[in-house]
């Protein structure tokens, strides 16, 4: 299977979220291609739609399977500072706790 992937340079961060800039082209075996055709026929959805969903699911699964996260120095500094000197809870958290107590929190 051949996969090409390239990401054009973007002018703004916002653009990456809303526009579909990345183009991926790859080859499938006849067997997998036929399977894809069947799936397209069965769901009535487009090939792109099905493949996009599969990519999103798999990428999500792989990222979430991480059990370690190596931070950059500045993020590690911020994390250690927050552990050593915990910030005071904000008003939203206190409201959430009040709501949780009202809604049947275990005593």
């Amino acid at each position: 299977m051949v996969i090409q992937s390239h990401r054009p340079k973007l002018s703004t961060e916002r653009q990456t979220r809303t526009t579909k800039n990345r183009r991926i082209a790859f080859r499938l075996t006849d067997e997998l291609g036929a399977q894809l055709d069947r799936a397209v026929a069965l769901t009535g959805r487009s090939q792109t739609d099905l493949i996009t969903e599969a990519i999103a699911d798999k990428a999500d699964e792989v990222i979430r399977a991480q059990r370690l996260l190596e931070l950059t120095d500045r993020d590690m500094d911020a994390l250690l500072a927050a552990i050593e000197h915990p910030p005071v809870p904000n008003a939203a958290m206190l409201r959430s706790i009040a709501r949780w107590r009202e809604r049947g929190a275990p005593a």
Partner: protein, 188 residues
Amino acid sequence: MKSSEPTGRADAPEVVVERLDRAHHDCSRFSCGKAPLDHYLRETVERDQDERTAVAYVLVDKDQPAKFRRVIGYFTLNSFAFPKKQARRRDQDRNLGRYNPVPAVLLGRLALDEAFQGRGLGSVLVVSALTQVLTLSEQLGTAVVVVHAIDDEAASFYEHQGFMRFRDEPRHLYYPLATFAAALAPTE
């Protein structure tokens, strides 16, 4: 405890959090609007629980019969760590330098059924998760809770609750357990 004014909508049910058990929890109708999170609850969660890589907790309505309750929301927890780079360990982080990696719990997934959204139950789920981790931390050292936000909207929701975003990992946010313990402590 002092009585507080109502902080949620009146139509939200009284809820309870339980360990997910398919014999007693109806997951079939669960729909949060984000397909991977629905799919995970319906298809994948049991494999993870069998392999002990994650534990799922569900939010259910107290008034439904205990033998089979509809899942209103769920979250998953598993152990997590932040390794420190070799070079840093030697001469920096004098106080926490002895902890390597930094011990954490990952709130990997958290989702609320669409039919129950907009009633403050999302924040009830977050507090339930943090409470569960605080209980765990009495037996297993845990400094922070980490969340992996599925999208920007989710990240903003956690940020509003006081979670802090990593600058170079914008989909990961953290909340120090000491901050949560202080938030739970009686104020009077």
